[in-house]
Symmetry: C2
DNA sequence: GGAACGTGGATGATGTGTCAACTATTCCCG
DNA sequence: CGGGAATAGTTGACACATCATCCACGTTCC
């Protein structure tokens, strides 16, 4: 229904309306800068990337601190090859370690190392503080709710129906987050 | 003020509040999927990337269809080396062409080629339609306004004061957009 | 004129993401 | 049991972003 260019029967493209156009440009701009800033801040403060952080969060969120590769892919919404490459790099830096799965000869686990644990414990507080400073300290309660609702709507649209089919990705669960839920880095 | 990990006098990290946490996770998730989807859609439909598209938009927005490299960097909020590499790749594919600047021997122009023009004319309508379908068709007018206001606030925070200083990037102007303002690809 | 410094831009190394094979195992069905 | 199909994961090639470095040119000031 979308994704066709120049539908021959209806050659007049419906551009965005002015207010939509303004909102879109503001969003695109903001989102680009925010991503850039968060990444930079994270690697400067903690010597790990946002991607590393996302993986580590998933690991600390699991009792036993080990997760199957494919489950990692599903919860992060990443492709399996991305996971594979990324875990290889993280392993080289000592943040995680691979282990074979006995119950399924094909599978393997990604396991958190001590070094990985201290890396995320060092990174998390500063990251949370940054998100607060750059986003939530600026927004009213109503805006926070609006942000969530808008995001949920768009996300849902992206992961249901035609869109999801086109993507053919692992089905969703639960992505990156700021706070490792109830685990924390309190004593350190 | 931020960016310090474990401020010694105040060791208790202030995590996000529950509703903020929910909003943040929804936003991060949505933003990741939306970026992925837009990129994929663009390259499938038009054989150019979002980055190519952004560059081409800047070029079509200029009378004469030529822009200095550094101006490109400023308006896209990209680093100059990124522009340089990217333009090199685009040149190899025939989308743009470099030209020396006579008035300043150091400088060079990036010039739109015919092939580049037809590429963006082919890509723009489908992209706009996708953005409508994935975002604006889902939102109320109030939500569109909220999206803009939130984005503007956060963006402003990112580009003023300490944040901007840390970044030390080219100062801003005007980024990627869906519609090449009044230029269009109507007749084609 | 020319040294010092800033600016416009290119380049190479490295880390990262994507796509398309490919391997190895397990599952399923006869 | 045997043989395909599905599943879990890896690998290599390529596109891309970032960083540090480099070079050519311009500006300034003596």
């Amino acid at each position: 229904m979308m994704c066709q260019l120049f539908p021959y029967a209806e050659p007049v493209t419906r551009w965005l309306e002015p207010e939509q156009q303004r909102a879109w440009r503001a969003y695109v701009r903001m989102q680009g800068e925010l991503n850039a800033h968060l990444s930079r801040q994270m690697s400067v403060d903690s010597d790990i990337s946002m991607a590393d952080f996302a993986v580590l969060v998933q690991l600390t969120d699991t009792r036993d601190e080990r997760v199957r590769v494919l489950e990692l892919a599903r919860s992060l919404h990443w492709e399996k090859s991305r996971i594979s490459h990324h875990v290889a790099r993280m392993e080289k830096r000592g943040l995680v370690r691979r282990e074979n799965c006995r119950s399924d000869g094909r599978g393997s686990f990604v396991v958190l190392t001590d070094q990985g644990r201290s890396a995320i414990e060092a990174a998390a507080p500063a990251h949370a503080e940054t998100v607060r400073a750059l986003v939530f300290d600026l927004l009213t309660d109503a805006e926070v709710v609006a942000l969530r609702e808008i995001s949920e709507k768009v996300f849902e649209r992206l992961t249901t129906g035609e869109c999801a089919a086109v993507v053919a990705r692992c089905d969703a669960d639960d992505p990156m987050e700021v706070v490792p839920e109830e685990s924390g880095c309190p004593e350190a």
